[in-house]
Amino acid sequence: MNLLLDLALVAWLVVLALHVARTGDDRNAIVAFIAFGLLLGLAWTRLGAIDVALTEAAIGGGITGLLLLRAEAHLRRGRQADGAPRQGGGAKTIVAALASAVVALGLGLAVLAFPSPAPTLAQPALAAIDATGLGNPVTAVLLAYRALDTLLEKVVVLLALLGVWALTPDNLWGGAPELKEANPPQPLLYLARTLPPFGVLIAVYMVWVGADAPGGTFQAGSILAAMWLLVMLAGLSPAPETRSRLLRLLLVGGPALFFAIGFLGFAVAGGFLAYPKPLAKALIVGIEAALTVAIALALGLLVAGPSNKAPAR
């Protein structure tokens, strides 16, 4: 039964992906992609990776979908209804088909050739977890064993935001992005009032249990970002100006705290990003809380895009 379920799931995922590849209309492809993202969340629970399932559902199914839908609406508005689907060149399609077939076959071969028993770091990860005081090994990997990756990835997100802001026309730089639609429909306003309390509750819960159970800063941050975007879309609260000092301090605060605790490790724990054992859990939870705010803001602003209102004054 389990295998049957997995087979159905896999078939479904592949068919949805093919639908994205074949459909003529961009919006259709994006809708299918959102469905694909939600389904991926299900697939990840089947793979025993609840942490990933939460992340994938929140980012893949939620925020990426909004990002792409907004872009599509923007392009469609500007294109003024010349909807003739473009065709790629024949030769290019053949090359692409060949290349992707080779990659997929090679990959499939490699997947089938994986050694058995599979190499794993599950035991060492579990053996070392006491030193961190955590209960969720994924969180331990993210914030202790491979904290450097996580730290650099935070910088990647900030850099992406910087890159997006750099695309602002010069006269609007430092202003606020505009997300509010011309006349948000009534049910949207209702949703924007009722959904965020749920979302915030779930996010807080995720950070809270993240140390010991699936969940954590990424998942919570992306949920918060989604809720914030909903509020901004409905026009209940305007997007902040990108030059705002408070906003920038909050954005930088999480990674800065991470760096600060990392450097503190030099003094008290014998190395960069090492945590003193009795304080490890407290420090990690503190970092997670600060990072959650920074991630939520950064993801939300990444979707909001460059500012399109001149700064006030």
Binding site: N28, V31, L38, L42, I50, G65, L69, R77
Partner: protein, 96 residues
Amino acid sequence: MAEFLTGAAFFILAVTALGLFRVLRSELAVERMMAVQLLGTGAAAALVLLGAASTSPATTDVALLLMLLAAFSCAAFTLGQSEEPGDAPAPKGDES
């Protein structure tokens, strides 16, 4: 029991898949957005069932999140929908 619950999850997924493809092949753009709603509910039901089958309490968290984001995506889509080319405001932010 677990076998039955997994089976029910499979059944719901299969049924939802049928509906999904009907909706995705639809001519009407509005109708396609029902896909997300449909899938959100179906996947949440399947997840709840699987969570009960596997006694892994965190699976329900995924269902919770999926429901939350299905609603969110639906809202996002309807916004793009309301902007028919005619009544769109002039794009802001270009150089004057």
